[in-house]
């Protein structure tokens, strides 16, 4: 069973009680079905209550859940075929970024994704999903090829943020991110970006310039990690929970702010409870948007993306006398 968070403990207690009753009923041959049904209804109700009223910090916990499906989990569920391609042609193959060509409902597409590891060893290989410059450059190379060959681009965002070490600085991490932003804004193919887990700052945004931006229900997408925000604001990373609320970074927040086009519902309790179902819903959403984008010519796809990004921002206008 999946690792449980504190706020999920009442569910476990109830589940255990039901299991006990079932065992007792079986062993003693006593009919407790009505009691059990009552408890099961109660459990169902409690689940809905807990999972539909998650506060932002609880969503962060779900988004960072070690068993949360990553791109590699979704790839075989979303695509008929996926061929991973490697390297930035310049320095290295960054394992925290995965890309290649996939076939989505008969259409070849280019995919680019952050990938965190599933265990410590893999996390070290993948730098915990935090790309170095060569990761962005690999993605850029693959996306440029998608543009060349007229393939739609699907990006999947799932990173705590850009790498923070000296090597990343030396090799021009800033430039690498900026080039992704600049290039993505100019593509003539459809770009669909989905936040599937953590969307951490510039490292996430580098793959976020989409015609369509989707978010899995329990993912978050933020300018700064809540811990860092709390550190800066209140000199106390322990107040990450408060920062998580202040930053307005849940899928619902981003939908309200007009950044996210649609929220992809997750199974109760989170994507890790049922990756297949999550992928199925996600595939439907992507398919719907991809079909809608077919209405536009290449030039229009580019212009519409530009205007989408261009119009993000909220400000006031002073009236000069």
């Amino acid at each position: 069973m999946a690792q449980l968070f504190e706020f999920e403990k009442p569910l476990l207690e109830l589940e255990n009680k039901i299991a006990e009753l079932q065992k007792f009923s079986r062993e003693k041959q006593i009919d407790l079905s009505s009691e059990i049904t009552t408890l099961e209804n109660k459990l169902e109700h409690l689940k809905k209550t807990i999972y539909t009223q998650l506060e932002p910090w609880q969503k962060v916990m779900i988004a960072r859940h070690p068993e949360r499906p990553n791109f590699y989990d979704y790839a075989p569920l979303l695509f008929e075929d996926f061929l991973e391609l490697h390297g930035d042609r310049c320095f290295a193959d960054d394992r925290s970024v995965v890309g290649g060509i996939a076939v989505f409902r008969g259409i070849p597409v280019t995919v680019v994704a952050h990938v965190k590891g599933k265990d410590t060893k893999e996390n070290i290989q993948r730098n915990f999903g935090m790309p170095h410059p060569e990761g962005y450059r690999k993605a850029l190379r693959l996306m440029n090829q998608a543009e060349k060959f007229g393939r739609p681009i699907f990006t999947f965002i799932d990173t705590p943020g850009a790498a923070c070490d000296l090597g990343a600085e030396e090799r021009g991490q800033s430039e690498a991110i900026a080039r992704c932003l600049m290039a993505m804004s100019g593509y003539h193919v459809p770009v669909i970006s989905t936040v599937i887990g953590e969307g951490g700052s510039g490292g996430a945004l580098a793959f976020g310039v989409g015609n369509v931006i989707l978010m899995l229900e329990n993912s978050f997408y933020t300018v700064i990690a809540p811990e860092s925000c709390a550190s800066i604001l209140w000199k106390d990373p322990g107040q990450a929970r408060e920062a998580a609320t202040a930053l307005k970074f849940t899928s619902q927040d981003l939908f309200s702010l007009g950044i996210v086009d649609e929220i992809v519902p997750e199974p109760l309790g989170g994507a890790h409870r049922n990756p297949e179902q999550t992928a199925e819903v996600l595939a439907e959403k992507i398919d719907k948007h991809l079909k809608a984008l077919k209405a536009y010519k290449p030039e229009e796809l580019m212009e519409r993306r530009y205007h989408k990004i261009r119009s993000i921002g909220v400000f006031e206008r002073e009236i000069l006398e």
Partner: protein, 302 residues
């Protein structure tokens, strides 16, 4: 006065700074902001410790007379040192930050920043000439919430770039920033994409963009417009990077080598075309503008 402004819900009105066309002259006659004029007549160099006569320091464009350290400088002072006298036409002065997330303490911080810098936001945009060469100019103001980029900074830059496209003028941006402005959350993050997208259009149109990095430039600003210059210039000794040195130290659990993230370090690692001293900035930019003037093109001389 500024505080009042930020408490009003939507459209607010202030009569004074930053200036409408009529007060432009006045603004230009105020070469340095309050912040930079020390209470006394003496300023201590933060690098070598030398105590300098503040008038000498200002005359030397706030470059230490002893160790050549380039002290930080306000957007308006920089503008002064750089452009042909009275040539500046400021744009989009009426834009003001909102508080879209209702972020704790944001409106107060904005008011304080406005109060201390005399600016309405962390960026100054417009057009001017440098040794006779017309150009669009953008200056971050480090005194305004560390030059952080929120919706207004992003919007003003995007507008300036689009205006350059319309006028077929080059763009020069002087960056200094702590990064994206946390208080506007995801909206700030997407200003990186917005400014980069505008610059993509400028590049497509074959227009020149010069990025000048000054101390300090970090985070979302380095990872967007500041790194996209056709030519990238830095002031000597300026600290430039994505992640700040303190965070790197914590993550790597080791000291950074001396000189890490300076302009010189960045040039060694291929990120920067030129390191230009403040006193040479005006002639160097003029030279680059001349090289790229439409009439100077090979085709144009046929």
């Amino acid at each position: 006065m500024f505080k009042d402004m930020f408490r009003k819900p939507k459209y607010v009105t202030i009569p004074s700074v930053p200036p409408a066309a009529s007060t432009k002259q006045e603004a230009l006659q105020q070469p340095v902001s309050r912040r930079e004029l020390p209470d006394g007549l003496w300023v201590k160099c933060p690098k070598c410790g030398e105590v300098l006569f503040s008038k000498d320091l200002e005359e030397n464009q706030r470059v230490c007379l002893k160790c050549s350290h380039h002290l930080r400088i306000s957007a308006r002072a920089r503008l002064e040192y750089l452009i042909d006298k009275n040539s500046f036409e400021e744009w989009d002065t009426e834009l003001r930050s909102a508080d879209p997330l209702g972020f704790p303490g944001y409106r107060e911080k904005l008011a304080e920043a406005a109060e201390s810098t005399g600016m309405s936001e962390g960026v100054l945009t417009g057009r001017a000439s440098i040794e006779g060469n017309q150009t669009v100019l953008v200056f971050n103001e480090s005194g305004f919430m560390m030059g952080s980029m929120g919706s207004v900074v992003g919007e003003k830059i995007a507008r300036a770039v689009e205006k350059a496209l319309e006028l077929r003028l080059p763009v020069i941006i002087f960056s200094t920033s702590g990064g994206a402005r946390m208080q506007e959350g995801i909206l700030s993050l997407y200003q990186m994409a917005k400014t980069s997208a505008a610059l993509a259009k400028l590049a497509d149109a074959g227009l020149l963009y010069i990025s000048v990095l000054t101390d300090p430039t970090f985070g979302g600003v380095t990872a967007s417009y500041a790194s996209l210059g056709d030519i990238i210039i830095a002031e000597p000794g300026a600290l430039i990077g994505f992640t700040g040195p303190r965070v790197i130290k914590q993550t790597m659990r080791q000291e950074l080598p001396p000189g890490a993230q300076t302009a010189e370090f960045n040039q060694l690692h291929g990120s920067i075309d030129l390191i230009v001293e403040r006193a040479q900035m005006r002639p160097t930019l003029a030279r680059l503008l001349r090289y790229h003037r439409e009439g100077a093109k090979y085709g144009a001389t046929v």
